[in-house]
């Protein structure tokens, strides 16, 4: 096995803190990526308050909320996987990671059903929008933002699923020990970000219709 200590670091502890800091910095930039969309949401919601409220009310709260529970649970299993590898239980960690992968896939499937339902009603993003019930500019803009935000989030879910899948495989192969499991920790951090972004999208897209 490769020496886990890279040559530019004095000791493993410094290396670990560098890896964590680097990941947090990267997550910070991810937050700013979504912040641009949140800013657009805020801007257009101010322009079209009534249209936005009725468009939010039209979204399927049941699916949105179920998906929130699914993602939160998947974050829990990732956290438990990190816990398991620290207790030297690699097989258990791999199982937990696979559970997160399954939950992530389930999230995407439910999201897909939701998209399909929207398409059936003629709710497409941008200029192909033709939903007669909500025909204002605001509703159109809301759903465009909805598609862009959930689409970008789904891309992150997909990336996260691949990362977790790889980590499960690596756990299974015994690559990680209680002393060295930094990739697992970092992959977990990334998955928590995917989760947290959804925690903000969920109320904005499904709940805030008052």
């Amino acid at each position: 096995m490769r020496d886990p200590l890279a040559e530019q670091f004095e000791d493993l502890e410094k290396q670990a803190s560098a890896a964590r800091l680097g990941m947090w910095a990267f997550l910070g930039s991810e937050v700013l990526l979504f912040s641009g969309l949140f800013a657009l949401y805020a801007g257009y919601r101010t322009m079209y308050p009534a249209d936005f409220a009725s468009a939010v009310a039209h979204d399927n709260v049941a699916i949105g909320t179920t998906n929130t529970f699914i993602l939160l649970t998947s974050s829990l299993t990732v956290a438990l996987a990190v816990h398991a590898i620290r207790a030297a239980r690699a097989r258990r960690a791999a199982g937990l990671l696979l559970a997160s992968v399954a939950l992530g896939l389930l999230f995407l499937v439910l999201k897909g059903f939701e998209y399909a339902e929207h398409f059936r009603q003629g709710i497409y993003p941008g200029d192909r929008y033709r939903f007669a019930e909500l025909s204002g500019y605001g509703a159109k803009t809301f759903f465009t933002i909805y598609y862009v935000a959930t689409g970008l989030h789904a891309l992150h879910v997909t990336a996260g699923i691949s990362v977790l899948g790889y980590l499960a495989w690596a756990c299974r192969r015994g690559h990680y020990t209680p002393e060295y499991h930094m990739p697992l920790e970092l992959g977990g951090l990334y998955w928590h970000l995917v989760d947290i972004v959804w925690i903000f999208l969920w109320p904005l897209l499904y709940l805030a219709h008052a």
Partner: protein, 556 residues
Amino acid sequence: MSDGYYRDDPEGTVPWTDPPPVSDLEPDYLRAGVGVRSWLLTTDHKRIGLMFYVVIVFMLMLGGAFALVLRTELLTPERTVIDAGTYNRMFTLHGITMVWLFMIPSIPNSFGNFVLPIMLGAKDLAFPRLNLASFYVYCIGAAVTLGGMIVGGADTGWTFYAPYSSSTPSTVFPIVLGIFILGVSSIMTAVNFITTVHTLRARGMTWLRMPLFAWTIYATSIILLLATPVLGLSVALVGADRIYRFGLFDPALGGDPVLFQHLFWFYSHPAVYIMILPAMGVVSETVCTFSRKAPASYLALAMSAIGIAFVGFLTWGHHMFVAGMSEFDAAVFGILSMFVAIFSAIKVFTWVATLRKGSVYFNTPMLYFFWFLFLFVFGGMTGVAVATQSLDVHWHDTYFVVAHFHFIMVGGTLTAFLSAAHYWFPKMFGRLYSERMGLLTSAGVFIGFVLTFLPQFLLGNAGMPRRYYSYPERYQWLNVLSTGGAWLLGGALLLTLVNLVVALRWGQVATGNPWGSRSLEWRTRRLPPKHNFDVPPDMRCGPYDYDRPLEEAPDA
């Protein structure tokens, strides 16, 4: 000397232990491996910095060539060499090349990559492979952008204002895709630099003993990290519109074009500080080295860099004073913009005060420092002027603004880039450039620059709008002056390059520390080995302790 950054070193110990005998030394970084493969797959920050340097200089030449065509076209009021459509594409490509392919990565990715880890006393950056990946991602982004230029090129200006950018028949998509990819590279570099500064400082290298260049690179990286994703999002939305009409900024679909401008300038205004902060770092180094003095106030220089990075995020609105913004908002953005001038003035006064009672050496990097000082103050003061709402309404979208930002970007960033190119040349290549040619070309750059852009202030004030292809005859004499200056500037830059390239091979062999600097990068061997130091440095004094005798590290 009342600065506190070496107060905990009362006995004044010199930080150097004897290096091991010459025969045990690692080979220097240029000889550590041979062959193309050893370069293309290297993780050595110095080699990656050098590769960035080469590509970035190429981009400067490309952007400069576009500029020369533009200036030649403007020699006469009507058509001179190219038609109006080509002209529109050409100024767009000039802007895109200079901003994203040259200026954003210029100092951080070349000199920053090369010297930052050495300055901190580290063996490499925190993530060497990420660093290499960042170089390749940059190359891919550059290739996609340049490819887009070759297959047609955009005519939107470098700002891609919606909704025109969504509807113009010119080639927008590959260019915004390329810029998105370049943004990924920027973020990778920023993560790497921030982590390195936090975790890889040598023993005894406290935050307040870091060289000032490291402070500015750190501040720049924070801006890159937080602003670039927003640019990525806004250009991605423009690019997506080219394939499927989302129309988030299209009034026909209920969108608001001004929101695009808000998002765009949320990145692109801080981007100005991405360009100027490293430049300020470079001149902070040169002014101390060549005055043989600690800065008049280390803390003032370091903290004003962080101050600029912070305030820089709150000023973007001054680009939209005439685009639909309440007077109150405009006043707030105007005042916040002027805060930048306060921090900049702190820097300028500190640099000037550093010269006082120093033993000033007059050579090329120092001459560039003086040009920088003059041009930066001039450009900065006109910046305060355009941040004033009432004045900006008159000058907005005229050549006055063009002249203002060229004074800051070219007069500031480019002169500092050239200062750095001369200052660190002996460390990067182990030889000295010709000082006489250096001074001569430097003077050429300055005269050419002033001749190019000073007339543009007058043109703008007289009402000539930017980006126009033809103009009334009364503007011609100023345009002729400007074009002449541009050719002089181009020629001087080319001669600068020739001078440096000649020195690569025929320059006098330098010692490890030809400038007698106290900063760590000069305390390595003539050409640093792969891991920079033969013995890990232990900093017991600051990087500007010129009041102590120099215990020069022996040359290999």
